[in-house]
């Protein structure tokens, strides 16, 4: 990761501890995850103890401490989505990609995330792909979505 980018994120926010979450959001967005080195730099520049940053970064689902895949598939498993069938969706994604929620595929293309609510309960079940919301999902739609993101691999593993 380039120090210049982190520098530009921190620009104008130095020594302002209350900017911590904003900075972490930007780092997450630009690097895909929050690395140890990034946390140490942020700790120095914002004047926030390292343990506090680690605590915040590990507390929120929005932040990842491990590198994430190119495509992040986020499944909502909140109450409304659960009732409308989030479980088959999760099964579809895990079996199609062969990884568990929170893990990244070997080729680094996909990460499956499980969250408790995405705030769009009326349109459930919701799946987001790199931040784009897909409403009223079904296992079939999800299969096509994942396929469209990575056609070659899914053709080999798809059985129908």
């Amino acid at each position: 990761m380039s120090p210049e980018l982190l520098d530009s994120i921190l620009e104008g926010r130095r020594s302002q501890p209350h900017q911590l979450i904003e900075v972490l959001h930007d780092v997450q967005e630009h690097y895909g995850y929050i690395s140890e080195d990034a946390m140490k730099t942020i700790s120095n520049d914002l004047g926030v103890p390292l343990i506090e940053i680690y605590g915040v970064a590990s507390f929120y689902k929005a932040f990842s401490l491990k590198p994430r895949g190119k495509n992040v598939i986020t499944m909502c498993t909140g109450t409304a989505c659960h009732v409308r069938g989030a479980k088959p969706l999760l099964n579809q994604a895990t079996s199609q990609l062969g990884v568990q929620p929170g893990e990244t595929t070997q080729d680094g293309l996909f990460t499956i995330e499980k969250v408790n609510c995405l705030g769009a309960c009326a349109f459930g079940p919701i799946v987001t792909e790199n931040g784009d919301y897909h409403h009223d999902m079904s296992p079939g739609k999800l299969r096509k979505l994942i396929k469209s993101l990575h056609p070659t691999r899914t053709e080999e593993t798809s059985h129908d």
């Binding site: 103890p49 390292l50 343990i51 680690y54 590990s58 507390f59």
Partner: protein, 227 residues
């Protein structure tokens, strides 16, 4: 100059220093409110919930932790009603199910009147009281450990799980930890955890004087504030 307020605890009138918590006042006047996460001179986080009391406002009572409740003029507190005793017993039961391998927690369970544990034993080695975290960050300013994760994954850890140079190995976190004393009979392996309850004789006097500190020995394991 110190400012004082007048308040009632269990019907008795007390004069308390403004700015102190209800638990501080109770300890000062020898009223026994069981507590675990409270350490003098550290901030209160109300983590263990053992020090719950009833706070009566306009004739209606609210249950809240006395360590985070600051004294106010004309405040009415009930620390030992049937409702509180029942709630406190349940909290102590949950604590002992979480971490049976601690003399401090076994003792607290006896003090709160736990007779049986209805929950499955987890045998964890932490109850997340936060004593170590607070003493590290507040008293020493080292900030070498802290709470990480959330919900059922919450735990105490140094940054990235590796002890860094921030830790000066002062050992105060270990001194304050309620988990460092094993029960008198030794470590309970998983599968053979049980409520110890051997110290129930300590309760002979306490049962008759439920609201006052009778200098029982049950607080030794966690530095009960009378020591």
């Amino acid at each position: 100059m110190l400012q004082y307020v007048n308040m009632k605890i269990d019907g008795g009138d007390f004069r308390a220093t403004k700015g102190s918590s209800v638990l501080d006042v109770a300890i000062e006047y020898g009223i026994c409110i069981p507590h675990l996460c409270h350490v003098p001179n550290l901030s209160e986080i109300g983590a263990c919930r053992l020090c719950i009391v009833e706070h009566v406002v306009n004739g209606r009572s609210k249950v809240t932790t006395s360590c985070t409740l600051l004294v106010k003029e004309g405040m009415v507190i009930r620390s030992n009603t049937e409702k509180i005793k029942k709630l406190r017993r349940n909290i102590a039961e949950l604590l002992v199910a979480q971490a049976p391998n601690s003399r401090a927690i076994q003792d607290i369970a006896v003090r709160c009147g736990v007779k049986e544990v209805r929950y499955p034993f987890r045998n964890e080695n932490c109850v997340l009281c936060g004593r170590c975290v607070r003493v590290c960050s507040e008293l020493f300013g080292a900030k070498a450990i802290g709470f990480v994760g959330r919900g059922k994954d919450r735990r105490v850890e140094p940054p990235f799980g590796v002890l860094s140079d921030l830790c000066k190995h002062c050992g105060t976190c270990i001194d304050l930890c309620p988990m460092t004393f094993n029960p008198c009979e030794g470590y309970m392996k998983s599968g053979e955890e049980h409520l110890c309850g051997k110290c129930e004789s300590q309760m002979l006097l306490a049962d008759n004087l439920p609201e006052s500190c009778v200098w029982c020995e049950l607080g030794e394991g966690f530095q009960c504030s009378r020591y």
